[in-house]
Every structure is written in structure tokens, then in C-alpha cells.
Symmetry: C2
Subunit: 132 residues, 2 copies
């Protein structure tokens, strides 16, 4: 199978040994990356057919539609695949928030470089010494 072709179908996607492919979900206009979840061939087909995002829950081993209980549905504008056909990018219009924590995106926290964290910790400790 030539993955360089421009007309690949669901069957051409490279699902992992667990039958899943990661799907990055992005707000179509703002570009905000909202969440990453996993699809199998069936949930990808349902996503394309219904225009709402359907995933496979690895922890619950079941299908789930985003927003089915919360109402925070994702209307699908486009489903793209990468050069290796092993990752999806789903452009959506998000209703409400994407994250179960109430944050708009699931990516609301940053890691800091160990060196930076240490410097900041030292600076903070020095500041607290000065303040006391």
C-alpha cells in the first residue's frame, strides 16, 4: 500500500497493534489543540458518518461520543491524516469546553526545564529568606 497516495481511506490508516490510532482534536478556527484521544476503525467511520467525534476508551474498553453526557459535542469540520497515515488530526467546532476538568483545552499546564525549575526554586527560596 502506497501511503503517499492522496486518496487514502479508513482501511488504509495504520492502526496500532491494539487497533487504535491517536486523534489530535483541534478547534478549526482558533487553532487551539483541545485534546488527544484514540479511535479504532469503527469509531473513525462513525465520526465521518455522523459529523460528531467518536472515540474508543482504552480504560473502559468502550465507544464514547464526545459530549454525549456533558453536551460539549464536537462538530467535525475535517479529518486529516499525517504523512505516515498513523495519526489523525480532527478539526472541530467545540461546543462548551473540551476537558472534563472544566478547562477549555486539556493542555492547560506546562512542564518546565529541570534547570529552570531548579533556578526558580533557588530564587524563590532566596526571596523567602530575604522576606523573613
Amino acid at each position: 500500500m502506497d501511503i503517499e497516495r492522496d486518496d487514502l481511506s479508513i482501511a488504509d490508516m495504520k492502526f496500532g497493534t491494539d487497533g487504535l490510532i491517536p486523534a489530535v482534536v483541534q478547534q478549526h478556527d482558533s487553532g487551539e489543540v483541545l485534546m488527544v484521544a484514540y479511535m479504532n476503525a469503527e469509531s473513525l467511520a462513525k465520526t465521518l458518518e455522523t459529523g460528531s467525534t467518536w472515540f474508543w476508551s482504552r480504560s473502559r474498553q468502550s465507544y464514547w461520543m464526545k459530549g454525549e453526557s456533558s453536551g460539549n459535542v464536537q462538530n467535525v469540520m475535517d479529518v486529516r491524516y499525517d504523512c505516515d497515515a498513523d495519526t489523525l488530526l480532527v478539526l472541530v467546532d467545540q461546543t462548551g469546553v473540551a476537558c472534563h476538568t472544566g478547562e477549555h483545552s486539556c493542555f492547560y499546564r506546562s512542564l518546565r526545564a529541570p534547570a529552570l525549575s531548579n533556578d526558580e526554586t533557588a530564587a524563590q527560596a532566596a526571596k523567602e529568606d530575604d522576606d523573613s
Copy 2:
């Protein structure tokens, strides 16, 4: 470990059974999703320490720095993690293009809904019939 904390470190990330975590790479200003690759704890540490993206190649079983041979390096602006701490979002400033095909982003192709594809195929066939 409480993944709701705001100060998680590399050791708190939830790497898969293969020791890897998916990293979505996004252009920091335009919001374009450029690529998705995988990091282990060591390549994540190198990414934070050096300010360039380092990944683990599952096919070659080796470390690779994006742009090391092509020059298309990614300068890291921020590394975020999601609510489950099992996916990274790396905000970068991309030099040149991100995709080995020469496209700016790896996500340059779209899947179409089976129903839509069939309709379009039928419409195209009808058009060709008309033209002939």
C-alpha cells in the same frame, strides 16, 4: 500520584508500556499542528534542556533530533501536558518545513466521509457520462 497537581515533572508523566508518550508539535503563533512523534523520558529531558525537539524513533529504535540532518529544527517555546498527563503538546518555532515530504505540516491530506466519497464518485461518474 495526584495528576491534578499543577507542578508535575517528567517522572510524573504517564509513559506507555513501551516507555513512550505521544508529543503533538504545534507552531506556537499560527497554531498549525505540524507533526506527532514519540518521546521517552530521556528525549523529553533533552528537549527541555536543549530547547530543540528530541524524539524516540520506534522504527529505528534510536533518538533523533528534529532537523539534525535537514536543518529544519524546532525551537521549543513551551511543553504542555494534558489532564491525564499521558500526552504532550510542544509549542515550537519551526525552521523550514516539518514534514519529510516537503510539506509544511505532516497533516496535508484529508479523509472523506464514505457517504460523501460515494456521492462524489457517483456525481463524477455522471458528469463524465454527460461529457462523453
